[in-house]
Symmetry: C4
Subunit: 228 residues, 4 copies
């Protein structure tokens, strides 16, 4: 999919959304979650069978709407001057199979990827983790890039879980959300809890949180936190 010829519409469609998605990538940079050009954010185009995603190997420096490409839900380029991310097929699969998802993030952030390389889920031992993830962050299968394997692994692993994040084995993190911003927040929080639980485990065993307390924290956070 990344090798199809890239076309350019006269003025570039969906410039505002592409600009907003470009800007969201800076949150990944700010928190040290991405290295060089790896990592990407995508967002579904409202009311269309399209999504916008970072170009492949494009730098985070000065990333603007022109670094973001418009694709259809098969991952084919519809508009843009950059070949889309080599992870486009995985994003497209998620959008095709999870209609409530409007944003997807992928990254190889160090602590979460360290858990993924052991194939180990992150246990829910922090109230902030209960708030955002509602339980452990699960591990998906090892899957090669190039077909629907990664997308299938993401969707199958997240089914029936509260967590908006999945650790793909030996690979890194995918997060989902009802917007690109929500998926970016989940990515930022995923690395944060991956780090804190890692640190805690280094010197002993973190204490568990009772399932009823996890449920209570998750319920409250999803319904009370923030501005309504």
């Amino acid at each position: 999919m990344t090798t199809v010829p890239v076309q350019r519409s006269e003025n570039g469609s969906h410039q505002e959304q592409r600009g907003a998605v470009a800007a969201l990538h800076q949150e990944l940079v700010r928190y040290g979650l991405v290295t060089w050009t790896a990592g990407n954010v995508s967002e579904r185009v409202p009311g269309a069978d399209l999504f916008v995603i970072k170009g492949s190997g494009v730098s985070y420096d000065g990333l603007s709407w022109e670094g973001i490409t418009v694709c259809d839900l098969d991952g084919e380029v519809v508009d843009g001057v950059r070949a889309p991310s080599s992870d486009t097929a995985a994003h497209a699969y998620v959008y095709r199979h999870l209609p409530e998802v409007n944003g997807v993030v992928h990254m190889h952030s160090p602590y979460a990827t360290a858990w993924s390389a052991r194939g180990e889920a992150i246990p829910c031992v922090l109230t902030a983790m209960a708030d955002e993830f509602g339980g452990p962050i699960p591990v998906g299968p090892f899957a090669l890039i190039g077909d629907d394997s990664i997308g299938q692994g993401i969707v199958a692993t997240l089914a029936g879980q509260r967590s908006p994040a999945v650790l793909m084995r030996n690979h890194g993190v995918f997060t989902i959300g009802d917007s690109a911003r929500s998926a970016v927040k989940a990515a930022v929080m995923c690395e944060d809890v991956a780090r804190t639980v890692h640190l805690s485990r280094q010197l002993g065993a973190p204490l568990p949180i009772a399932q009823a307390d996890i449920d209570s924290l998750y319920e409250r956070y999803q319904n009370v936190y923030g501005q309504r």
Copy 2:
């Protein structure tokens, strides 16, 4: 408390203090102690049964006096355009029960929270820790958000301790001070010593400091350090 309707006075009361408290949040950002919108600083309004506190889920970027809400000591909103922090009840409890406290900070900083997830106090094995904390940093109980449980845990745990910081189990840190600035300093130093003691413990056992030396260091630092 976070769901009461928010009112706005004509020009916004206590703007100067709210602006100063907003600015203090940047110290938490600078030292990497907070992620996304989590964490908050509050300060008692001098001569009134009020305190000011960060709004719930409000971004640290461009945080100004308008992101800070005025509450009474029951945590009810008195003035402001943002619903106050979901931790408002805990801050209010501290102000009601500890009249000498004028500032409170809450955060989920990684190293201190890692200790809290094991339910383990940080031992006083650094002279800088004897200076600021006068002994170990204690651990409070597991407590759910939503009533006075967290506030009670903070106050009960700090009673009879020199430490201005408490690690709430599986949760994070609360610090107190005679001003918001003092509580922020305690928060910054808490993570600093949590990290150094963590690192030291990773490769062996830190050497203890004799209690008489801890007493001597604490006494001197509280009375001699800084500009008089």
Copy 3:
């Protein structure tokens, strides 16, 4: 080699390339890979038996083309106002013996150097590592500075490996590339995977990736990733 008298051509030759190489050093600073003045980037001058390299002990602050010195392939200064890096002999040896290499980076980044101090290769347990390095990052011999020992160690260790990075024992990292930019990318990615694999190993054993999968990932990344 670093003690030969330094000459200055009238206006400074190869200013554009020297300026570009100077600027590339900022990537090492941005990712925290270098401390004080240690570390250096060099690049072969196209169509000439020359390369350009950072001056010895020169600060990264405000580094411009004048901080970069032109040397011949024996490491002798041809043009410049700074004595070249004390690692110049190692870079020169690489350019003499590996004609396809046009860029070299040296650094003492913390995680990769930690592996080197144990004399331990970094195992290929991350898809991002398979992409960029195509296998483990190997360890070269202990070698003293001052003659061709380091250069020989680099060239001998990289022979027959896909990895553009080598960990020199008890010392640090050398990376190669078809340009200075490629070698800098390899350096940045080397520290990134050194850190993630280190973190993963701290809490258990990372799962291996099958050789056929490593081969497939490497092949695809080298041929499909990025803009073509």
Copy 4:
């Protein structure tokens, strides 16, 4: 010593040197070696029995010559508007007993202080450490602030060592140099090698470097590195 009344000369003496020393503190900030107001740099005044040192508890933000106080070699204030660092007695002791030393730095940087809390010297297992320190970084005694104990510990521990850095037990680092800049460089490099050796030790045993090789590296670095 920190409680003597502070006097102010009409225009402030030694403004240029005090400004330069103030600026050097920013290197400690840049490398994350200091927290809040802890840490300090001092420098001997050439041709006088005086030195200049950071004020006690003074912020690093906007630190200028006015935040730096002039003291005599007993640590008594000669000129300045800030009470000097609470570590002034230790700096003064070093200047009185080591006439070749013109700069001193003190800090509680995390990795080096972690070694100090175990009372453990940092073994010389990196070529960069052989270059700068010429061997292990030694540990000095536990000593209370307030008299000459710390200064005596520094001077006695550094006697007969090549290392310009000493880890004071359960406390932090002191470094010396022929200028404040040299002492700052030693401080920056001390934390750098403390971190890398810590990381290396976390996953096994770093390989030793033969004493003859350490000697050779130290000799060369002291005489060849940099611009002559």
